[in-house]
Structure formats: C-alpha cells, structure tokens
C-alpha cells in the first residue's frame, strides 16, 4: 500500500520543443509504492513528462526529484528508475534471458547472480521456460511481460510505464491489467503509468492525474476524479459526459448553467409520468435508441425539455428482448440530486 514518502517529485516542470510547449508547468508528488496513473488525450504531454523523469529529455525548466534527491541533471543510466516502453523496445538480437539480464550485465553483476535474478524475474511474470526465445517469437502479451521482467530485475525505485497495454487486444489487455496490478502489489515498487484509457486508469490506479494540453487538470483517487471532476474537461474525458444545458437546465433544474449526470446514475422508468423521490429529480423523454451491450444496456433518450441523455442500465434481471422493445417508448429518467454536478 502507498507509503507517505515521496517517490517522485516534480516542481514547475516545463518542456518546450521549439515553439511547442509540450509540458506547461507541472507540480506533482507520487508517493512510495503508489500505483499512479497519468491519464489524458493524445498530445497532452504524458509521454514527455515520463521521458523527463527517465532522463531522456532535459526539462526546459523545473526540477525532478527521485526519493528526495534532485536528479534533474543526471543521465538515464544514473537514475534509479526504469521504463517499460510502449513498443517494449526489446533487443531483437538477444533472447529473452539476455534481455532480462541486460541491466545487471551492464552493471557488472556476477554471472551466476544475474542469471538467478533474471530467472526469478521471468518466473514472476510467468514466463519461465521462454528464456531462449527471441522477441520476434513471442506474442504481444508475452513481449510486454518480458519488458516488465527486464525492468523489475533491476529493482528500481520507480517503474515508468508508457501505455504498456496500448498494443494489446481487449481480452488480453484486461488480463494484463489484473496481472500488472497484482505484480505491483507483490513487488511494492512505485508504478507511474501512462494511459489514455479512462477505464484502465480508474480500475488500476491508487491515484490519477488527468492531463490536458501540458497541464494537470486534476489529481485524485479514481472515485474523486470520476465523481467530482474539477473541470469540464475532466468530466468529459473521464466517462461519458451527459450534459444538461441552456433551456433544459432552466426547465429541469431551475438554474442556468451547464450540469452533468453520469449515465449510470440515471434510472429509466417506463411511462413519462413516473414520480421522483424526495431528493431526486427527473426528466421525461423518448427512447431514441437502445443499445444492448451484454452486461448492460444503453438508452439514448431525447428529453422533452431539449437535449439528449444517455442512461446505462445493468442487465440484472431483464432479458435482452424486453429492453430492446423499449425503443421509441416514453420514459422518465430519474436521478438523485447529489449526483448532478455543475460544469465550469
């Protein structure tokens, strides 16, 4: 579990590439042992931050601390961090064992010891027996695990992971998410994890930083970020942003401004005149579309008050045929007041 010591500290970190400001002044503390996710759209500066921490890019301004020591000006091989690259960057001319041993080899760890530690690392990622394969002979998931073993064997203070699951297919990706999380718990190393997949960030991490255009918009636990987004951008990026705005807001909420309710907070009640409870609000509308998605069904509802909301409903009891029949029906969407939040 996350400790309270600081593993990574960024202060006023900036990076400019010519006219482009890739990272625009970032302050961040990642605690020892934390599984920390950096979430944001493409081009928001996540990779650049990671590369500065690893030492591949010198910052334009600001400092980087690892375990309390300023490493801003150290070379990559002088920093006690390791990186799992998005494309894994396995050495194609070495077999799996040689790849995993690499970090120990260049640090002149005696042969017997490095062999032993490499084999242990391979066991920890469940790749015992694959020692003599070449990277080209592995599947995507296996490669990812070799890349992981290659870093773990060095027992770094911090592990940086740049979208390590980005190239995998969905099924494998879900399996790897579970494995990665378990591995992190087991080794206790701080993981700093880059992703643009909100669900991945929410399910795996202890805390999340949401990036936009080189800045951090919000840092918090997954629940904080999802349920109390600090900005409109966070609301939209982390989850479906169901907006109630303009005339609809006036009519339904009695206030002007823009508000949002998460789809899963909306109950779909057949018939337009169902009643709402005391702390609840509701809106009548027509079901424009019903999308069956296996575990859940999505209802796209055109509100009488204007605008469109999406409601998510777990397929707990209803059979699929029943829900599909709702297309075109009049319904009322009901939600608790505490689940509305204003968008700024």
């Amino acid at each position: 579990m996350p400790g309270s010591e600081t593993a990574v500290g960024l202060r006023g970190l900036r990076k400019e590439f010519g006219p482009v400001t890739a990272v625009d002044g970032i302050d961040l503390e990642v605690r020892d042992g934390e599984f920390f996710a950096m979430l944001g759209p493409s081009g928001s500066g996540k990779t650049t931050v990671l590369r500065m921490i690893a030492g591949f890019e010198p910052p334009t301004a600001g400092t980087i601390e690892l375990g309390g020591a300023d490493v801003t000006r150290l070379a990559p091989f002088e920093r006690d961090v390791n990186t799992v690259f998005q494309d894994y960057a396995l050495f194609p001319h070495m077999n799996v064992l040689a790849n995993v041993e690499y970090g120990l080899r260049v640090k002149k760890v005696p042969k017997a010891e490095r062999r032993e530690r490499a084999l242990a690392a391979l066991r920890s990622v469940r790749l015992a027996g694959f020692e003599s394969r070449r990277p080209a002979q592995l599947s995507g998931g296996q490669r990812q695990r070799v890349a992981l073993a290659r870093t773990l064997v060095n027992r770094p203070r911090v592990l940086l992971l740049d979208e390590p699951l980005g190239a995998l297919d969905l099924k494998l990706r879900e399996e790897m998410q579970v494995e990665l999380k378990e591995l992190q718990r087991a080794v206790g190393i701080t993981f700093l994890f880059v992703t643009h997949d909100q669900e991945e960030a929410l399910t795996m991490s202890d805390r999340v930083a949401v990036f936009d255009r080189g800045r951090i918009e919000q840092v918090g636990t997954p629940a904080e970020v999802y349920e109390r987004p600090a900005t409109a951008f966070v609301a939209g990026f982390v989850g479906t942003s169901n907006l109630i705005a303009g005339a609809a807001a006036e009519k339904l909420l009695g206030r002007s401004g823009t508000y949002s309710v998460r789809p899963e907070k909306l109950r779909v009640v057949p018939g337009a005149d169902a009643l709402a409870g005391p702390d609840e609000r509701s809106a009548a509308g027509t079901v424009a579309e019903v999308v069956y998605a296996g575990p859940a069904t999505r209802f796209v509802v055109d509100l009488d008050a204007g605008g469109r909301l999406i409601a998510l409903q777990q397929n707990l009891q209803v059979s699929s045929m029943e829900v599909l029949g709702l297309r075109g029906a009049r319904v009322r969407l009901v939600w608790q007041r505490r689940h509305e939040f204003a968008i700024t």
């Binding site: 030492g55 990559p76 390791n82 990186t83 494309d87 050495f91 970090g103 260049v106």
Partner: protein, 276 residues
C-alpha cells in the same frame, strides 16, 4: 488488359517467371556466363606474340601463380590494403553516419546526405590526383607516396559507399532501443557495444562489400599515389595487355573472385546480403 490481369492474378508462377526472366537472363546467363568463360580461359594458353589462343587444357597459369612467390606477396598486400581501407572507412564512417542519423534533425539530415553524396560526382581520377597534390612533398600534407598513401586515397574515394549503408541501417534502428539500454543502466559505450553495433552490423558488412571489393580491384589509384607499389589489379591489367596474355590475366583475376566469394559466403550468415 484486364483479362491479362485476371490471368496473371491467378497464375503466381507466370508472374514470377515474367519478373525473373530479364534479370536472370542478363545477370544469371550473360554475366555469369562471361565470368565462366573467363575462368575457362584461365586453363588455356596463348601465343604471346601473335596473340592467338591455344585452347588445350593446361594448369600452367595456375601453377605459375601458385609457385611465384611474388604473386603471394601481391595478393596478401592487396587483401591487406583492402582490409585497411575498409577498416579506416568503417572508423571514419560510423560516427559520421551515427551523428547524421541520430543527432541531426530531419532537415539537416537531408543536407548531410547531399554533402556525403556530392564527392561521388567529382571524378575518381581527379580526386586521386588531388590526393597526389596533397601528399607530395611540399603539398598540404606532404606525407609522400607509397602503400600508406594508396590506402588513404582509396579510403577517401570509397568513403561515401561506407557511410550511406551504415546511415541507412542506423536510421532503421529504433531510437527506443538506445533509450531502453540507457534506461537499464548502460553507459554510452556499453550501448554501442551491446545494442548499436550488433544491430547495425549487417549494414556495416554491406558497406564493407563496397569498400573491400572496390579496393581489391583498383589499379589506378595505386599508380597515381602508390610510389613503387603494385596491387593485384595491376598484375591483371599488365598481363591482359602485355602480349594479350588473357589466360594468365584470367588466372590472376580468379584470385580476387575467390577472395570475394569467400567474403560473401562468410557474410551471408550475418543477413547482410538482405539489407545491402
């Protein structure tokens, strides 16, 4: 047209045959045939005065070649020169290609490629003479002529042929591999030794095929800056001219052929022929 297209689509074999026909007729039949005919000539003899070929089989040329100590010296010297040229070019070209491929921005890179290509257009002879001028006593360098001068001049002449393949090889080398090595704790020279060199080795070999073979066959540069030296190419050239002793010239010419075939065979395993 479209019926021919549909026919070709269904017949991969016909497609392949059409594609291979001309290149193989040219290189496989004509060129290899010419080489084979030359090899056959090496087993003939010639009336050196009238120049008429005597087509009776004889080992005489190869015997002369094998027993003449001078030929062994010259072959060893020529191979030594070719190796030295290749080594110098490698040492000069690698860092240059590396800086071009991995340090320069894309725009600068384009200009650097041009800069490296430009000397190809200045005549070989003129460049060799420029070296003669620089090496002569009182010249810019004034180091004098001889084998060293020959090696330097040839290394200069073939340098672009070494830079270009290595540059191409380095350009293909993903930057992330170098970063990964550094990230895992390797210092610059360790990155070079464990990652860069093994992965660009085929490109180096490709470049070395140029520098090695061009040096092995040269007989002109050595005449210009070689002082008293001669190389295997001079022997071939002198003999084919001298009384038109084609058979003996052909026999001598088999030496660089054998050396190169041995080199190519050794190199094939590195996969370099695939990435030439």
């Amino acid at each position: 047209m479209s019926r021919a297209g549909a026919f070709l689509h269904r017949r991969a074999g016909v497609r392949l045959a059409l594609l291979l026909s001309a290149p193989l007729a040219w290189l496989g039949l004509a060129y290899l045939g010419a080489l084979a005919a030359l090899l056959v000539t090496a087993f003939h003899s010639v009336d050196t005065f009238t120049g008429t070929l005597n087509r009776t089989f004889t080992w005489a040329n190869f015997l002369d070649l094998a027993t003449g100590e001078v030929y062994r010296t010259i072959v060893l010297r020529s191979v030594g020169v070719a190796l030295a040229v290749t080594a110098i070019d490698l040492v000069v070209a690698f860092p240059m290609a590396f800086a071009m491929a991995k340090l320069a921005g894309p725009r600068t890179r384009r200009w650097l490629v041009i800069a490296v290509l430009t000397p190809l257009w200045a005549s070989y002879l003129v460049k060799a003479y420029a070296w003669r001028v620089m090496l002569s006593s009182g010249g810019l360098l004034g180091w004098g002529f001889g084998l060293t001068a020959t090696v330097l001049t040839l290394a200069y002449l073939w340098l672009p042929y070494m830079i270009l393949p290595i540059y191409a090889g380095l350009e293909r080398l993903p930057g992330s591999l170098l970063e990964a090595a550094g990230d895992l704790g390797a210092r610059s020279w360790q990155v070079f030794r464990t990652v860069v060199w093994p992965l660009t080795f085929p490109a180096v070999i490709a470049g070395s095929i140029f520098t090695f073979s061009l040096s092995l066959g040269d007989y002109i540069a050595v005449k210009i800056v070689g002082g008293r030296s001669q190389l295997i190419g001079n022997v071939v050239y002198d003999n084919i001219g001298a009384a038109g002793d084609l058979p003996f010239a052909a026999a001598v010419a088999t030496v660089p052929v054998v050396v190169m075939l041995g080199y190519l065979a050794a190199v094939r395993r590195t996969g370099a022929l695939e990435s030439l």
